[in-house]
Amino acid sequence: MTLDHERIEELLAAESLGGLDGSGVEELRGLRMAHGADCSECLRIEGDYREVAGRLAFAVAPEPVAPELEERVLRETEHLRQGPGSPFVRVGRTMDLLLRLGGRGVAVAAAALVLLGGLGGYLLTGPGGPGDLRVARFEGSAPGSLALVYEPGADEAVVLGAGLEELPAGSVYQLWLVDEDGPAPAGTFEDEGGGLVVVRLEADPSEAGTMAVTVEEAPGVAQPTSDPVFVVDVA
């Protein structure tokens, strides 16, 4: 535990300053998962270093903000629906967590959700009350990574993707829920160049047992026309 804490503290200190690169982010995620994502000592250290890092901003002399920027930001508040129920906020929150951890790997996003209770928190506060939120990574033969965040028994899950290959025009990634009877379509998505993909499912993937992703040239096909590029077993 003590050894864990020394290493985790070192990583958290750098993370709070934005100094971790991808491998550091992965290492921190792995260590915290193994050590216990809800360890109160780790959360306290993390909170303290974030506080210190945030306050370092005040060593810099403030710069005048153009009135146009203020106007632009205030105008946005008129269009932006507040609260975790709005789709923008749901995606924005995921993005926020991802960016806060300073990485772009989907494992980071998934860890962030679990550690910080972002989208995970949203799922957990659903009608079913607190449950056991799980994260499963897809195995893939294509570039990029995908993770599934789900709660067994809940008819809601989220697929997070990062670094996926941009597909030729007209092609889409299609999700499949696979059970003994074979694959059933579970929605399509594209990487729109934002680097992060968030797909919400209204299904319980643990009932099917497996999820797969194929690349389809025509969206909305009833059966896969090619081998899966990503697969995950869902317990």
Partner: protein, 208 residues
Amino acid sequence: MTEPGAAIAAPPDPGRSPVAASDPTDALDRELVRRLADGDRDAFRELFRRYAPTALAVARRVIRHARLAEEAVQEGFLALWGDPRRYDPARGSVRAWLMSAVHHRAVDLVRREEAQRRRATEAPPDPAPTDPGTTVVEEAGLREERAAVRAALEDLPPEQRRVIELMYYGGRSQSQIAGDLGLPLGTVKSRTLLGMRRLRAALGGMER
């Protein structure tokens, strides 16, 4: 292990957290955040006017690109507006939360931008003006905060301070800093940790 300052930098003391609630500036800010939850745009404007000038200054140092720096500020502040519960009062001050929200976006943008420039040779970003020539008038609480943070930084052993400044204000990663300064990565890591422990003790102490 033989880092200067190692002997004096104490490990974190569980009883002394910089996450202090007894901070008059923060008490005001927390009230503003509470009002955000009711869709109060005046409260949002007040927070923006108080903190955007600092957030912008930091973002410009990190990104050195005026437009992208503004984007980081915009996104950071709107994240709080979009869902004020993102700020957890149990974990720190509003001002540190806002600065972190903007800083992390700035770092993310700079890393992405660096990656893009490696792929395609593009024009380098505009340098940020180092002296905008105008001063921003601030309330007393923030002037004290600036003095305290600057003093805490100045008290760091220079080699720790250098690493922390390159990382936080320069948007450099630990491995980039190791390359920049010709130091082993392990040295950069230990300087970061020792420096942050000292800052944590210094700033935590101030607020008690």
